[in-house]
């Protein structure tokens, strides 16, 4: 089971009242390479991955939910005080008509979150996909940083981008662990 902790993993500050940023950030909320997709992918794969790396998938999957919450916090703060007129100007008119001010699992182009998060049941295929997922999430953060004019949002995005680097590193190590010859297996 899971326990909630009443704090964010990293402090989120939004410096500029620019609801347009919310439209871009939502990509990491309900986009194909976003935090929700990552969390669901790893937590789903953990059942059929070799025992050695089960814990890693479990823990990275759990951390992704903390990242999802950080993104939602940014989106919420950027839209909660916007008038419908301001949302319209920010390109969020359609979002407002369908969802009000609710955050919603869709991408920056308004496409609904795709539950078809892949899991192949082959440890190497799954881990290589996970490495790719981390690199894709890292690039999305780069594209958002490039398009953002808010240094405080970029500070949080920089943290999240670095987390993708560390996750990618750990998944690469997981592949190495699974490649190890059984006879040379380290003693526990």
């Amino acid at each position: 089971m899971w326990y909630y902790e009443k704090k964010l993993q990293y402090p989120v500050r939004v410096g500029i009242c620019n609801p347009r940023m919310a439209k871009f950030l939502i990509e990491q909320y309900g986009g194909a390479d976003g935090e929700l997709a990552a969390a669901l992918r790893y937590l789903n794969q953990r059942y059929t991955i070799p025992s050695r790396v089960m814990g890693l998938l479990n823990d990275i999957g759990t951390e992704e939910f903390a990242h999802l919450e950080m993104i939602a916090t940014m989106v919420y703060k950027l839209t909660k005080d916007a008038t419908p007129e301001q949302l319209k100007e920010a390109g969020l008119g359609e979002h407002y008509v369908d969802h009000g001010k609710s955050v919603y699992y869709h991408n920056a182009a308004g496409q609904k979150f795709d539950m078809g998060v892949q899991s192949k049941g082959d440890p190497i295929a799954d881990l290589y996909e996970d490495i790719a997922a981390e690199e894709k999430a890292r690039s999305t953060y780069q594209w958002i940083i490039n398009i953002s004019d808010d240094p405080q949002i970029n500070d949080s995005l920089g943290f999240l981008r670095e987390r993708e680097i560390v996750h990618s590193q750990r998944f690469r190590e997981a592949v190495e662990l699974l490649k190890e010859e059984q006879s040379k297996k380290r003693v526990f």
Binding site: Q142, I145, G158, Q169
Partner: protein, 78 residues
Amino acid sequence: MSTSRKWYIPYVSPYDPCPPLGPISYETPVQLYLGFQPQGMEQFSPFEALAHGTLWPGLFTPYTNPYLSKRGELNTDG
């Protein structure tokens, strides 16, 4: 120490509709080079670690908007 940003120059046609943007960058962060993390790597303090998004300076690869940086220094394969 490896660099974490590389550049290349795309082909420019005289018939391109827009002026060329110049060299294009892409990122090659540290996890591409590190291999299995060795034990005992130098660490940040807890506050520094939080600020950097990792406990280890050896895993930290900062990022800045490449469109704002100068495009002069090229490490290109053209």
